[in-house]
Each structure stands twice: as C-alpha cells, then as structure tokens.
Symmetry: C2
Subunit: 202 residues, 2 copies
C-alpha cells in the first residue's frame, strides 16, 4: 500500500482519504462513534493506526469530516432546488421536504450515525453552524425572489420572515428532536411547509 | 410530627405532601434530580425516609408529581388566555408567549429542573403527553373560534392547521431544544406567532 509522502497530497491521497472515511462511516454506523477507538477503526479497515493518522489527527477529525460531508451533501441538494427556476412556493415546499428526507436518511437503519450527530451537537462542530448559515442564505434567496415575482407578501420585514422560517426548519432537521417524530417527519414537514406558504401568501 | 394512618388522606396529608414536594423541588433544583437519592432528600427535608415513603413510593414518583404540577400550572395559565374573550389572534399570540415564558422559567437559575425534565422526556412520563393533548384541544378551540368569528381562513382542514401549529409550539416548549435558544426564546416565540397568524389570515 503506497504511503503518501508528507507534504504531498496527490489524487491518490484524496482517494485514500475517501476510502478511510467510507470505511469509518460503515464502522461508526454499525458500532457507534463513541465506542469506537482509532485502533478498532484501523483493524476494521485493515490499515495501520499510524497510516490513518497520516490523514486524520484524531477520531474526532474523522467524525468532523463525515459530518461536514453530510452537511455538504444536504447543502448541495437544497442548492439544486433553489436554483431550478421553479416558482418560489414550489421551491420553498421542496426545501422542507428535502430536509426531512435527508434527516430521516441519516438516521435510518443503513446509516445509523446518531452518535456522530450527537457529538457534533454537543461539541458544536463547525459544519453544523456553516450549514445553518448556508440554509439561511438559500431561504432568504427564495423568499426574496418570491417577493420580487409577486408571489409572496412584502409587508413583513424580510429578516423576520426568514428567521421564523429558519426556526421551523430547525425543528425538522435538528437531530435532537428527530427521535420524537421520526415516523411522521415527512408528513410533518409537508404540513409545516403548507403553513409557511399560507403565511407567505399575498 | 403526625404520621398519617394509611388509607386516610385528610387535609393535613395533602399539606404534608405539598411540603415534601416543595422541598424536593428546591433540593432537585440545587443538586439535580439524577444525583439525589431518597436518603439525601429525607436528610435535606429533615424527615425520615420511611415517612416520605408514606407519601411517595419512589424518587421517580416525586419527580412525576413535580412534573405534573408544572404541566398543570402551564395548562391553567393557557386556559386563562383561551377563556378570556379577546380576539382569537390575540389569544393565539399569547399562547405562544406564555409557553415561552413558562419554559424559560422552568430552566432559569432559580428553578433548575433540567434533570427532571430530561428524565420525563426519556422515560415518557405521563403528564407530558396529557399536557400536549390539553394544549392541542385549547389550540383547536382558538382556531375554531377564530374561523367562526371570520378572523381566520377556513379553507385548510382544521386538523391540518392545528397539527402544524402544535409542531411549531413544540419547538418552543420542548425541553430538548431549549438549551439551543434559551436566550432568544421570547423573541423566537413572538416571530413564530407572527408567522402563524399570517398563515391563519383570511
């Protein structure tokens, strides 16, 4: 197995890093993030601990990278919706549904990443905050475009509207609440989207 | 100190029970529910453990009684709003604000009942479910009266409207989310109330 020279990060390094992350997602998903040590992970992946340390300083660094990857996927998924040129109402509704779908997927039986998500919340990992900021900007874009197109009311300050929508979206995607309504999250998201759209109507 | 005869529960018993609960609230609030044992509690209150067991079968029974008391206070507080004859919009807004105020009070520095609340959530204590049902009925009453009075739109099925409002109210009063927005809960509740009122508008 080729060991990367320190200071050089070529395409092979990236591939190796992705392989470690993919294996870690599988392992954490099966045995839990908290209970897994770097040694367990190295054994499971079939690499030496020293080799893994060339790519990640700690188990937490792997956890954070996984978390950032999930957030980046969710962000990209929602960016596609925001950019697709449909009506603002349609895009707003699909933002709600996409967040619910992504959140359920993260906790479903194939990808039990609960542990990582809880650690991310407790330790305030950076990618959660960045995701919330990105989501807020995308929500604002849709509301603004809906107002400009004459689809949405303009009396309420834009900032207040966006903050209230973000609070509602957080109740959908926030992992701490998820276990309370996992089974109904899709329906809940649809009902909340309907309520929000009525609140935005002219 | 008079020991109650088993099978007889007179006014003195009720008073004694309330005294134990008041002392337990103070003690749990200071030292935490989880870390406190019945023996600690008996010492702190200055009663024998055996005497306390005449009133409560377990620490959990005391915790549940405290929880039920808090829920009953919140319910009564909101019932007053619902019954006061003001416009439905005004009452709906004040339901949001009252839930935020009550929730913050429960977690403020004088009444740190976090521990009890977490236990109640984890172990699905009964009073939380009963409170949610009572709140749902009160919300439905206000929405129905607002529709009858011509204040609120009637196109959306009543059930869907009420479910969506309950989801939003839960994001205000649910203890698991509280620590995330403790400092802004009053403002958040006001913004969410405004959004909900816009959604209810004709």
């Amino acid at each position: 197995m080729p060991v990367p020279q320190s200071g050089q990060r070529g395409p092979v390094d990236h591939e190796r890093r992705d392989q470690i992350m993919a294996a870690a997602i599988e392992h954490f998903g099966h045995y839990g993030y908290k209970k897994t040590t770097m040694a367990d992970l190295a054994d499971a992946i079939g690499l030496s601990k020293a080799y893994i340390y060339k790519f990640f300083d700690s188990k937490k660094a792997i956890g954070e990278a996984i978390c950032a990857l999930q957030h980046e996927r969710m962000r990209a998924d929602i960016q596609l919706i925001v950019d697709d040129g449909k009506s603002a109402s349609d895009r707003m509704r699909r933002i709600f549904l996409a967040l619910a779908r992504n959140t359920v997927a993260l906790f479903s039986h194939e990808r039990k990443l609960h542990d990582i998500v809880y650690a991310a919340v407790e330790e305030e990992w950076k990618s959660a905050g960045l995701f919330a900021e990105a989501l807020r900007a995308m929500v604002e874009q849709v509301v603004r475009e809906g107002r400009d197109a004459g689809e949405f009311e303009r009396k309420t300050p834009l900032d207040e509207t966006c903050q209230a929508i973000m609070l509602i979206l957080k109740s959908i995607y926030h992992p701490l609440l998820l276990e309370l309504h996992m089974d109904t999250l899709d329906e809940d998201a649809a009902k909340l989207a309907n309520l929000v759209l009525r609140s935005l109507a002219l």
